[in-house]
C-alpha cells in the first residue's frame, strides 16, 4: 500500500469529518443551549440538499444553490422552532424524541410528495471539477479539497461567533443559566429561534455540499444524523470543540477502517473472506470507537454534564 493512497484516504476521512462537523455543531449547540434532542436535524440536511438541487436546476449557478440551501434550511428551522419545537423545551427527552420523530415523518413524506421518490442530482461546478496536484504528487479532487476548506472555515467562523460576538455571549450565557439572562432583558425565545435557525442552516449547507458528491434523495439525512449523534456522544454533548474533534475522529475511523481492516485481515486469512470480515468490521468500527470512549469517559471527551 503506497503512501499516496494513505494520504488520499486521510484526506477523504478529513472531508467526511468536517461535513459531519457541520451537522454535529448544530445538534450540539441546540442541545447545549435549549436542552433539546433534535432527531429532525437530518431532515434539515435533506431540505438544504433539495433546495440546492432545485435552484441549481433552475439557475445553473452552484453558489446560488448553496445560498438557497442555507436560506431554505434556516427558514425551515425557524418555522419548525416557532410552531413545534418551542413547545418541547420544558418536556422530557422522550417527548422530544417522539415529536421530532414525527417531524421526520412529515418532512420525509412531504418531500417525497413534492419531488417524487427518484433521486435528484446536483452537479459539481465546472470550476471545481477535476483534480488538483498537492505537494508530494498527490492528485486529489478539487471539490473535496474545497469541502475541507469550507468545513474548517465554518469551524473557525463558529468559534469567532461564539467567543467574540454579542450573540455568542448570549448563547454561552443561555447554556449556563437561561433564567438569569432572561431576567437581564434578553429575549430568550428569539435567541432560541436564532440558535435553532443557525444550526439548521449549517445542516442545510452540509446537505447541499455533500449532495453534490452523493445523490439527493429522501432519507439521505438520517444516516448522517446518526453519525452526528455518535460524534457528539464522543465529543461530549454541548461542546463545539468536542464536536470538531469527534467529527474528525469518526470521519477518519470510518474511512480508514474501510480501507485498512480488509488489508489487515489479509495477513491472517484468504483474501475473499478477509474482504468480507474487514468490511463487516469496518462498518462497525465507529460504534466500537464510541463504546471504547464511553467506557473511558461516560460523558464524552469534552462533556461536563451527564
Amino acid at each position: 500500500m503506497s503512501a499516496i493512497l494513505i494520504a488520499e484516504q486521510v484526506l477523504n476521512g478529513l472531508q467526511s469529518g468536517v461535513m459531519l462537523f457541520l451537522m454535529a455543531a448544530g445538534l450540539t449547540l441546540i442541545f447545549g443551549v435549549m436542552g433539546l434532542i433534535n432527531l429532525a436535524h437530518g431532515s434539515l440536511y435533506m431540505v438544504g440538499a433539495f433546495a440546492a438541487a432545485a435552484v441549481a436546476a433552475a439557475t445553473g449557478s452552484f453558489l446560488l444553490a448553496l445560498a438557497a440551501a442555507l436560506a431554505a434550511a434556516a427558514l425551515a428551522g425557524a418555522v419548525v422552532e416557532t410552531v413545534v419545537i418551542r413547545r418541547l423545551y420544558d418536556k422530557d427527552h422522550l417527548d422530544q424524541v417522539l415529536a421530532t420523530f414525527a417531524l421526520i415523518l412529515i418532512f420525509s413524506e412531504g418531500t417525497r410528495w413534492i419531488f417524487g421518490s427518484f433521486p435528484l442530482f446536483l452537479d459539481i461546478p465546472p470550476w471545481l471539477s477535476g483534480p488538483v496536484e498537492l505537494p508530494g504528487g498527490i492528485l486529489y479532487p478539487a471539490y473535496r479539497l474545497a469541502l475541507i476548506g469550507v468545513g474548517l472555515a465554518v469551524a473557525l467562523g463558529l468559534w469567532l461567533l461564539i467567543s467574540r460576538t454579542r450573540l455568542g455571549v448570549r448563547i454561552r450565557a443561555g447554556e449556563n443559566d437561561r433564567e438569569m439572562i432572561a431576567a437581564l432583558g434578553v429575549d430568550i425565545s428569539r435567541l432560541y429561534t436564532v440558535v435553532f435557525a443557525l444550526g439548521a442552516g449549517l445542516a442545510g449547507l452540509a446537505g447541499a455540499l455533500v449532495g453534490a458528491i452523493q445523490s439527493v434523495q429522501v432519507g439521505m439525512g438520517e444516516p448522517v444524523l446518526i453519525l452526528a449523534f455518535v460524534v457528539i456522544v464522543i465529543g461530549g454533548i454541548g461542546s463545539i470543540r468536542g464536536a470538531l474533534v469527534g467529527a474528525l475522529l469518526v470521519g477518519l475511523t470510518d474511512t480508514l477502517g474501510g480501507i485498512f481492516l480488509p488489508e489487515l485481515f489479509k495477513l491472517f486469512t484468504d483474501p475473499s473472506s478477509a474482504t468480507t470480515i474487514g468490511a463487516a468490521l469496518a462498518s462497525m468500527s465507529i460504534y466500537v470507537l464510541m463504546a471504547a470512549i464511553l467506557v473511558w469517559k461516560p460523558t464524552g471527551l469534552y462533556g461536563a454534564r451527564a
Binding site: I37, L94, V97, S283, M284, P298
Partner: protein
C-alpha cells in the same frame, strides 16, 4: 371495575372477536393484519417494560427485534438447506421447530441486551438515547455487510416453521400462537409490575438516589429490566420473521426502533395495554390511510405530534383517564 380495566377487557375482546369474525367470513387478510398487530404489540410490550417501568428511553429496540428475526432465519435456513450451523466442537443442525427457535431468539436477544446494557447504562438521559440508537445502527450495518445470510437482500424461508400439533400455515392457527404469547407476556408484565422487583425498578426510575440509600443498585435493576425487555422484543422478532417468512436488515433499522416506540407512546407509556392499543391503531392506520394515500406517514406524523403536544397518556389515557398505575 376501573375504567382502565374496562378498556383492557374491551381490547382483549376485540383481539379475539375480530379475527374470529374474519375467520367466519373468510377474510384471511384481516387475520394476517391482526397477526401483524399482535406481534408489534408484543415487541412494544417488551419496550414498555424498559420504558414504562424502568424509564429507559431505548431508541434501539430494533436490535432485539432483528436478532430474534435472524435467530429464526439462520436456524430455518440451515434446516431447509440441510447444512449444520457448525461442525465444531459438536455438530449443531438447524431447526424448523418454533419452540426451539423461540428459545434461541429469547436467549440470544437477552444476551445482546445484557452486553448493550452494560455499556449503555454507564450513561443516562440523552446519552442513553443516542447510544442505543447507535448500537441499532451498528447491528444494521453488520447485517448488511455480512454476506453469509443474505446481506442486504435478506433471506427467504420457504415454509413457515412448525409447532407440534398445529398447522402454522393456516393463518388463524398462527394468529392463535401469537395471541397466546402476547397474553402470557402481558400476564407476566402485570405480575412483574407488582412484584418486589417491579416496585424497586419503579422506584429506581423515580428516585435513583433514594433507592441507592436503601441498599439497592438502580443500575442493576435497570439492567435486568433491559434484559427482560430485550428478550420479549426478540421473541416478537422471531414471530414477525415467521409471519413474513423473510428476514432482512430492515428488521434492525432505526425507523423500526422509532415505530416500536411510537406504538408505546400512542397507546400509553407504562400502561399494561398501552402497547397493544398503540400497535393495533398503527396497523389499522397503516392499512386504512395507506389505502387512500401513499404518503400516509405525513398524517401519522401529524397525529403523533398532536398526541405528544396535547394528549398525554396516549389512547389508554384518553379512554381511561390518568390512572394511578405507574405514574
Amino acid at each position: 371495575m376501573s375504567r382502565e380495566r374496562a378498556f383492557n377487557l374491551a381490547a382483549l375482546a376485540l383481539l379475539v372477536a375480530v379475527p374470529a369474525w374474519a375467520q367466519l367470513t373468510g377474510e384471511t387478510f384481516t387475520i394476517t393484519l391482526a397477526t401483524r398487530a399482535v406481534i408489534f404489540a408484543l415487541a412494544a410490550t417488551g419496550l414498555n417494560i424498559a420504558l414504562g417501568l424502568g424509564g429507559l428511553v431505548s431508541l434501539g429496540h430494533a436490535v432485539f427485534f432483528g436478532i430474534g428475526g435472524y435467530a429464526m432465519g439462520i436456524l430455518a435456513f440451515h434446516a431447509q438447506s440441510y447444512t449444520p450451523l457448525t461442525d465444531w466442537p459438536v455438530t449443531i443442525p438447524g431447526t424448523k421447530l418454533m419452540p426451539v427457535i423461540w428459545l434461541v431468539a429469547i436467549l440470544v436477544s437477552a444476551l445482546a441486551a445484557l452486553l448493550i446494557g452494560l455499556l449503555a447504562l454507564r450513561t443516562t438521559g440523552v446519552y442513553f438515547i443516542m447510544i442505543t440508537l447507535a448500537f441499532g445502527q451498528m447491528f444494521y450495518y453488520f447485517a448488511i455487510s455480512w454476506p453469509a445470510y443474505g446481506g442486504e437482500d435478506g433471506m427467504a424461508i420457504y415454509v413457515r416453521n412448525g409447532f407440534p400439533g398445529l398447522n402454522t400455515l393456516i393463518p388463524i392457527q398462527f394468529y392463535g400462537l401469537c395471541l397466546a404469547w402476547l397474553l402470557v407476556v402481558l400476564w407476566f408484565n402485570a405480575r412483574l409490575a407488582r412484584s418486589r422487583f417491579g416496585l424497586a425498578l419503579n422506584a429506581a426510575r423515580q428516585a435513583p438516589q433514594r433507592v441507592e440509600t436503601v441498599g439497592l443498585d438502580p443500575v442493576r435493576l435497570k439492567l435486568v429490566a433491559l434484559v427482560i425487555s430485550g428478550a420479549v422484543t426478540g421473541l416478537a422478532g422471531a414471530l414477525f420473521a415467521d409471519l413474513n417468512r423473510f428476514v432482512s436488515p430492515t428488521m434492525f433499522s432505526w425507523q423500526l426502533s422509532g415505530e416500536i416506540m411510537v406504538f408505546v407512546i400512542i397507546g400509553g407509556v407504562g400502561r399494561l395495554f398501552g402497547p397493544v392499543a398503540g400497535a393495533c391503531l398503527f396497523v389499522a392506520l397503516e392499512h386504512l390511510l395507506g389505502g387512500i394515500t401513499a404518503y400516509w406517514h405525513v398524517w401519522l406524523g401529524v397525529l403523533l405530534l398532536f398526541i405528544v403536544l396535547f394528549g398525554r397518556g396516549g389512547l389508554v389515557g384518553i379512554f381511561a383517564g390518568r390512572g394511578a398505575v405507574h405514574d
